[in-house]
Amino acid sequence: MPAVVFEEVAKTYPGARGEVRALDGVSFAIDEGEFFGLLGPNGAGKTTLISILAGLARATRGRVNVMGHDVVADYAAARRSLGIVPQELVFDPFFSVRECLRIQSGYFGIYRNDAWIDELLAGLGLADKAGTNMRQLSGGMKRRVLVAQALVHKPPVIVLDEPTAGVDVELRQTLWGFIAGLNKQGHTVLLTTHYLEEAEALCGRIAMLKQGRVVALDRTANLLAGTASTMLRFKTDDALPALAAHARVTGRVAQVTAHDAAEVETILGQLRRAGVRIEDLEIGRADLEDVFLEIMQKESA
């Protein structure tokens, strides 16, 4: 049984200039136990899709189910199966960390849950903050509490909406260690992130969204293999010739993708003929970021 199924999900909002189409017929399924990545530029519809999954928003068309439960018709069972870590750093200023977790647990109908709460606190490096009021926590600590709140009812499906935006390296490592551990135990994980190296390292399968549509859906390894796999990186002060129109340029550093060795030769030849002086030439494997940019460019062409 798939853990999450999106079926022709569409969402339109009334906007200032007519209807805004946030999602336009999104369909894919996530299997139980998968570590799944949902990528896309800002405004692609990632958060809207997750909001519909969580019941925070309603689809204009289409259906979503979690562990076999429809998120509208059978919302209570669907929500019990789902743990959402929201993108915004929200908290309830009236309560301590432990109170927040006990209350959240109670909403799911679980009263005596301190053993699991203690485990969450320890696993997320919050053990010494249990009695601290939420207001007194740093941003990173608040983020950890959000993760603990999402997991307090041991949901089989965990959804993380850009959990590491603006988070320091230490927390990212704690967080990923913890989430990877849960994934090994069989929890399904759905992750949206801006850090493509995270998605590359963690996700077995990836869907890419653009303007409310799925533009790529494959195993991470296949995505990396199926598109330009080689990356030329060099520094130059000169203008690049036409061949490198799709090069990524950051200051003096230019990056050009190639599909094979012959293409590398062609590019270098063209650069030489154009009289471009290059320094620090590196040839490396393309990463997910390159794949991402290539797919996004193709889609807009």
Binding site: A76, Y107, F108
Partner: protein, 256 residues
């Protein structure tokens, strides 16, 4: 099919009580002080000049009105401020992702508002009862009207909290609707002392029936029959509850 999540509803009810109790200086003590000031000042000025019911001094008459006014205003304040705070700070998401039905939301928010209203009402009574002899002629009316009135205002607060997007909107609802309706309902006077036109107008105000029925419990005398008051207040409560439940079920302004 989902079993009814009673534990979830109870948790939300408990959390709502804990929320106001943690800031009880502001949510309980402050309104008690305000009511006591009203009593001291109005009672002092008017004690010898106004008599509403035979044999009952003005200060005695004023106590139940002040108690009920505090009950109503604080029941309203509890649900409206809790909801708008959660909406503005974004932590309403913790509730939105939980498996709680619209009945659970309704029962918990309104229930906690009733508790806050009654807690403040008891506090006001405890400090004002020393200034005038107390009467409890038909005490069951006291209980019925305080609970129904608090429930009604807790529900109005819930509706206002769902509708509002900013703090000043719930405050406007309070200042331009709840306050005038309580003040004009006969807290400080009997509507029989008003000119005929204003008397007639007062009878259109559901708050008038809450306070009149509540005061009946203390003195055994009232402007209208307590049964009429019960019918009006009960019907109003059912109507506003139906509206609130409908808004919650459709996710009005909380689920996009």
């Amino acid at each position: 099919m989902n079993a009814v999540n009673l534990a979830g509803a109870r948790t939300l009810f408990y959390k709502e009580i804990l929320r106001f109790w943690k800031v009880s200086v502001q949510t309980v003590a402050a309104p008690v002080l305000t009511a006591m000031l009203y009593l001291l000042i109005f009672g002092h000025v008017l004690e010898d000049r106004v008599q509403v019911f035979a044999g009952i001094g003005y200060t005695s008459f004023l106590v139940p009105g002040l108690v009920m006014m505090s009950v109503l205003q604080n029941a309203y304040a509890n649900s409206s401020s809790s909801l708008i705070q959660s909406k503005v700070t974004g932590n309403l998401v913790f509730l939105l992702v939980a498996p709680l039905s619209h009945w659970a939301w309704f029962a918990a928010y309104v229930g906690a508002s009733v508790v806050r209203g009654l807690a403040v009402g008891l506090g006001v009574f405890a400090v004002t009862v020393w200034f005038a002899p107390a009467h409890f002629v038909e005490p069951w009316w006291i209980i019925v009207f305080s609970v129904l009135g608090a429930g009604m205002l807790g529900t109005l607060g819930l509706i206002a909290g769902l509708w509002a997007e900013k703090f000043d909107q719930t405050a406007a609802f309070q200042n331009f609707l709840i306050m005038p309706m309580t003040f004009l309902s006969g807290v400080f006077y009997s509507v029989h002392s008003l000119p005929a036109f204003w008397q007639g107008l007062s009878h259109l105000n559901p708050f008038f029936y809450m306070i009149d029925g509540f005061r009946r419990g203390f003195f055994g005398a009232s402007d209208v029959s307590p049964w009429l008051s019960l019918a009006v207040v009960g019907t109003s409560f059912v109507v506003v509850s139906a509206v609130a439940l409908r808004l919650l079920a459709t996710g009005y302004k909380i689920r996009t």
